[in-house]
């Protein structure tokens, strides 16, 4: 075999592989962990021939840092809407081509309108799931302490004398100023979206008063903590607490976990968006359109226990989820939920410093 033949074969092989590459369509997805029915992606590949490369993250901060560094290679990412606004301003995302998304007609206007606060005209993102930030609790312990079957309200956490009763069985609070301060402001009767340093300081004061009762500020440990019965009260995300509820039920160790929307609570939306430098824009649109199909969105909600922003999917969602007011709140409870806008850089500094003081006492 002469050198020429070798070269020729090499070129041929190269040509073959490139044509294979050209045929294989791929979409790179970066989503929250445990946030989809795994069969959904297989079904999508079967239907469209597009291969899904699926990665997961567990905090908005991690996602945002990657997006701001640029060149992630992801085609579809799932930020929370309160982070979205700033990310749009930084030029992270591209506008959706709505002509390629006929399933937009299935979306729920109540949710889409609320997301407009972050993304005017819903130009950059569509809702995937949404939920609330509230209280997870150990049903038996809460009943013993409160002396009632009623789920705990914000008083259980923010009234120091009441929180002191939960102290021994353990309280966890999300280690995230943006998820906790708005609820404190609302509890104090102030505007939850306030950027006024005085208001924020008042919220900080209340938290510092109740801080001795809090065992830990952490954004994920409370899932296991609640499920194992290590803690009995947690300020956390609705979906995480539903996961804790499921794990506790599976473990059959006698721990029952409940979730309460404890009054005026913060509402959050995780949305599907396409980074500006996404390498497979067409495939990304196809996937987003697929995920907006009523049966597909319903299947995800049935598995992850979150409400979705898809009105047409509600007929396929299991009764147990659709009728649970902690997941799909009643219209009047829904009207009490609020949304907040992100802080600008200066206020963010004040808030983070305040938060460090709350968390560490320094």
């Amino acid at each position: 075999m002469g050198i020429k033949t070798v070269l020729l074969t090499a070129t041929l092989a190269l040509g073959l592989t490139t044509s294979v590459w050209a045929q294989e369509r791929v979409v790179n997805v970066y989503n929250w962990s445990d946030y989809i029915d795994p069969t959904t992606l297989e079904d999508f590949t079967k239907e469209t021939g597009i291969k899904v490369v699926y990665d997961t993250f567990d905090s908005n901060e991690i996602l945002e840092t990657k997006l701001l560094a640029g060149g992630t290679g992801y085609d579809v990412v799932v930020p929370t809407a309160s982070f979205l606004q700033r990310q749009i301003a930084a030029g992270v995302f591209q506008k959706l081509d709505k002509s390629k998304l006929p399933n937009l007609a299935n979306m729920w206007d109540v949710i889409s309108e609320r997301i407009q606060k972050y993304d005017p005209g819903n130009e950059y993102a569509v809702d995937w799931m949404w939920g609330t930030t509230g209280l997870g609790y150990n049903v038996a312990k809460a009943k013993e302490i409160l002396g009632t079957d009623e789920p705990p309200t914000w008083d259980a956490l923010f009234k120091p004398e009441l929180a002191a009763k939960f102290k021994d069985c353990g309280i966890h609070v999300l280690d995230s100023a943006t998820d906790v301060l708005p609820s404190v402001l609302a509890y104090l009767g102030l505007d939850p979206d306030s950027k006024n340093p005085d208001d924020l300081a008042k919220a900080g004061e209340l938290l510092e008063k109740t801080r001795p009762n809090i065992r830990k500020f952490h954004s994920s440990e409370y899932i296991n903590g609640l499920a194992n019965g290590d803690i009995c009260l947690a300020l956390g995300y609705s979906g995480d607490i539903f996961q804790a509820r499921d794990r506790a039920a599976e473990a059959k160790a006698g721990v029952e976990v409940g979730y309460s929307i404890p009054g005026a609570a913060q509402m959050w939306f995780d949305v599907l968006a396409i980074p500006a430098d996404a390498p497979h824009v067409a495939e990304a649109h196809e996937l987003i359109n697929y995920l907006m199909r009523p049966d597909v969105a319903a299947k995800a909600s049935n598995v992850v226990f979150y409400a979705n922003g898809n009105k047409a999917s509600q007929q396929f969602i299991s009764k147990e989820i659709l009728d649970d007011p902690a997941i799909y709140p009643t219209p009047e409870a829904l009207s009490k939920l609020f949304t907040v806008t992100p802080y600008d850089t200066k206020v963010q500094r004040v808030v983070t410093r305040l938060w460090t003081k709350v968390v560490t006492g320094q």
């Binding site: 640029g70 301003a89 995230s176 968390v359």
Partner: protein
């Protein structure tokens, strides 16, 4: 000619570690230093100015003229940062001493064990590395938590009535660091003790020196290089430790790794977090230089 080729090859060989340091230490450091002199921006990447070498010298100088010391001034103005540095150094120092107290007897026992079982003992020290560091730290949560193994055992043995609250305290951090870094301290001390000529101690004892005194006057000084190397191997990474305080420590634990994390991720302030990292590096360079000096001295004395 032969000599010339020899010196060229030896230079090439020497240049490899330098090249390594240049690419993997100096270049990243310069990038971090550069970002620490920049300002925050809502953009990709989230700071300004962005230096583009391809855009020509003029724009490069233009970018450099926008550098600012503001971020370092910020670090001085807020007591949070120096408190976090001091607390990290204290936690690292206490952990190092505890590791030494536990690690030295282990290393000594290993070095004095019959030569036939030494490889097995060495293996046992290295064995934990076969499991992920993260999983081992997680396991400590299961051991230390109020309903955990330790408390269950102590209550079963009637030592205590109510569970000890260890998890989420400084004690848990010390346990985590001592456990995780123990092998890094045991191995250098072991290698120093194993090389030691034990007949020196026998000679001292023959001359009437009590065993403890012989240890203190002969064995310990001879193991000093290992002790120093081991202590630095524990102290330096423990100062910047993030995972152990995050998982085992409580909310009130102030450590520089955590401060850096929140600057970088919560504040999205890459410039300030870079400044924090640069200062941390400078803080650690001092002990590293001291370490190298003592190493050089030790080598000198061996000659």
């Amino acid at each position: 000619m032969q000599k010339l080729i020899g010196s060229v090859t030896s230079r090439l060989v020497i240049s490899v570690p330098y090249l390594w340091l240049l690419i993997f230490f100096l270049v990243p450091f310069l990038i971090v230093l550069k970002i620490s002199l920049s300002q925050v921006a809502t953009a990709i990447p989230p700071y300004t100015p962005v230096l583009d070498i391809t855009a020509g010298i003029r724009s490069l100088f233009n970018g450099i003229s926008q550098f600012t010391w503001e971020n370092y001034v910020w670090l001085v103005e807020d007591p949070l940062y120096y408190k976090a540095y001091i607390s990290s150094l204290v936690i690292a120092a206490v952990s190092t001493v505890l590791t030494l107290i536990i690690g030295y007897p282990i290393a000594y026992g290993m070095a004095r064990a019959p030569a036939s079982i030494r490889p097995t003992l060495l293996m046992l020290v290295i064995l934990p590395f076969w499991t992920s560091f993260l999983i081992r730290v997680y396991a400590w949560i299961g051991i230390l938590k109020p309903e955990g193994l330790l408390n269950q055992f102590l209550m079963w043995a009637n030592v205590i009535d109510t569970p000890l609250n260890i998890l989420n305290t400084h004690t848990a951090i010390f346990i985590g660091i001592v456990y995780s870094y123990l092998p890094f301290l045991v191995l250098p001390i072991y290698s120093a003790l194993e090389k030691m000529d034990y007949s020196l101690v026998e000679a001292a004892e023959d001359l009437g020196c009590p065993p403890l005194m012989a240890f203190w006057k002969i064995t310990f000084p001879l193991s000093m290089p290992g002790v120093i190397a081991g202590c630095f191997l524990v102290f330096i990474p423990a100062t910047g430790e993030f995972v152990i305080p995050d998982l085992l420590g409580g909310s009130s634990t102030l450590m520089i790794g955590k401060t850096l994390w929140s600057e970088f991720f919560s504040n999205r302030d890459w410039p300030v977090s870079s400044a924090v990292a640069v200062v941390l590096l400078l803080l650690l360079v001092v002990p590293i230089v001291l370490f190298q000096r003592s190493e050089a001295k030790a080598q000198e004395s061996e000659k």
